[in-house]
Symmetry: C2
Subunit: 361 residues, 2 copies
DNA sequence: TTGAAAGCGATACCAC
DNA sequence: GTGGTATCGCTTTCAA
């Protein structure tokens, strides 16, 4: 069963009794330039339909100098590989791929094996060799990393933790709405002793979660003892677990924990499981960025990022750059999206707080 | 910062003082035909290095009539979408993408939105329009689905549950080793009452897990009461949960449960959680195909498929077809891979069985 | 309004 | 051994 040669624009032209140029004109009639008569247009379209024509993307790309491929540099690309990557990490990648398809692009994810096997400078080479039209970078570690791409003329969009000294479009997220909703929810249930599990980090993005947390507590005039804040260095689950364990050993044990990432929540869950502290009866837990959350027992209440919209805007911003639809002003576009809060089953009023709730906050 | 025009083979030729044809000959020196002198070869390679040349994949593809893209049709493509797809489903997709890159290909995953929105015939159109070089189909539902691809001349590799009446290469898995190891493990721990959670299904692939389970129990001369076998119709977690709950209500409650899929294991976990039956103290649980398993509490002991190898062989088989390295015999290649068994923390000797274990086999 | 023709960047056949 | 040249399928001036 041999594959028949695919239908070409030449075939369509012949069938419709016109030239290739006309076929092309009809099909790419985007700039409103109706250089083709209604009659001809109809004939061409009919031929396209009859022959089931669809343009060859390779030929198009070659001629247009566009590969139709978007490069994606995932979170922690340069860091050494995780023992077992959490599914959370796949969430954004997946949405980017979907969004790209919708815009007529494919995405090529730079993986450590494929690209960085040859050293960090090689990422640029890899992307360039693959002729990607542009690059989306998820939480770039250093500004240099981004600059290397920009300097080679690659359109770049930064995600979630952009380096503002690199003037590229960027999409970020406002932690406030999600965090506020979470704290309102907990306080409304009667929680007064709420602890925070997070990561160290000097950049604004790293501090945002904790800052929002503090602000939300302050709104409710709730104290935050320093020992209720535990910050980890790594993303290893055993460390997260140790952090949570320390929280449990406190003389005044908190009644609820807010974890800044899903990995941290998992660590907490392990600690709680080991200490036989039941969630949510004996301890409420709020997670973040959930991929696993729904599948766990109990399903985790959590603060979530709008990954689908992030992906959508990222691709839109990039393709806008590619199509030259970039605003005349020097400032690159910045989009800020709100976080959300989803209540599931890991939060419940603390023991003996029922009455307090009834009496209102 | 404008992107400089990329280096072409013409530039390399000029730099090395040879013709484009020679550059091409040097770079594609695969068929051992050393039609080029050592001296020239050196010069060309030096030029390539100096200019940082890398061939334009679009031009290559156009000329070779190869897109370098492999289509991937994921499990359950035609079925209606899951409420929340389990991360398990991403496991194979991810490995396929990795393997493809290693072979110099990209993969295009056919998603419901992109392709089948307009009915089943449209998948073929989508793939053809994208000019994929070949297709990998994960557990095709019907033979017709596969045949439609083959009839249009697309090289196909079927995964895990092939339709043997479609003569395509296929990769399957032997459930025996993993299941045997699991049962040996449980029996060795002293379990005698082991239940099975599975799915209905008429095809050999669907039966394999249960058949292997029965065989393994038989080896140990263990009885399997029919009420210990629970088969679901759907993959909805609430159904899996109900199945497990029924098991718990039995007068002679099993001491261990083997779940045929991760979704089923999750359902069981929910049921166990709701019934306050602790894993592994009060009930041992063995899962399958784990993606989540490591992250749960407790981490689940499970029977696993070698996804990485499956992906590797799938891509290898497909590219072999593309390169015409297909065996002369009429029979397409079939590869059978063994399953494995990973012990984590969800299995433990049943209460009061310790002595039995000491005395036992 | 339409068509002829020149590429885009590579490969492969065929002379030399 | 090596180079000329047609060609892959499309877009895009530039004339007509």
């Amino acid at each position: 069963m041999v594959r028949p040669r695919a239908v070409t624009s030449y075939d369509v032209a012949k069938h419709a009794g016109v030239s290739q140029a006309t076929v092309s004109a009809v099909l790419n009639n985007k700039h409103g330039t109706i250089r083709v008569s209604e009659e001809t247009r109809r004939r061409v379209l009919a031929a396209v339909e009859t022959l089931q024509y669809s343009p060859n993307p390779l030929a198009q790309g070659l001629r247009r100098r566009r590969s139709g491929i978007i490069g994606f540099v995932p979170l922690g690309f340069y860091r050494k590989r995780h023992e077992r990557p959490l599914p959370t990490m796949q969430l954004l990648n997946l949405q980017i791929a979907r969004a790209a398809i919708q815009h007529g692009y494919h995405v090529l994810e730079a993986t450590a094996e494929s690209a960085a096997s040859r050293g960090s400078e090689e990422l640029v080479r890899f992307l360039l060799d693959q002729r990607v039209d542009g690059v989306i970078v998820d939480r770039p570690e250093t500004a240099a990393e981004v600059r290397r791409l920009v300097e080679r003329g690659l359109p770049v969009v930064q995600l979630l933790a952009p380096h503002f000294d690199c003037p590229t479009p960027a999409i970020t997220v406002d932690m406030t709405p999600g965090t506020d909703a979470a704290i309102d929810h907990l306080v409304g249930q009667g929680h007064r002793r709420i602890a925070f599990l997070g990561h160290h980090g000097a950049r604004p993005h790293d501090r945002a979660r904790l800052d929002c947390f503090r602000a939300a507590l302050a709104r409710h005039r709730l104290a935050l003892p320093e020992e209720y804040v535990r910050l980890g260095e790594t993303t290893v689950v055993t460390e997260s677990c140790a952090l949570a364990t320390a929280l449990l050993a406190l003389p005044e044990r908190p009644t609820a924990i807010l974890a800044a990432t899903e990995g941290l929540a998992l660590g907490a869950l392990r600690a709680l499981y080991a200490a036989r502290v039941h969630v949510p009866e004996a301890m409420s837990l709020v997670s973040s960025n959930d991929a696993l959350a729904v599948h766990l027992y109990p399903p985790l209440t959590s603060i979530t990022l709008p990954f689908e919209e992030i992906a959508h805007h990222a691709v839109a911003l990039l393709t806008a750059q590619l199509d030259g639809d970039v605003p005349a002003s020097g400032e690159p576009t910045r989009i800020v999206l709100p976080t959300q809060f989803t209540i599931r089953e890991s939060t419940r009023p603390p023991l003996g707080a029922r009455d307090e709730v009834q009496a209102g906050r």
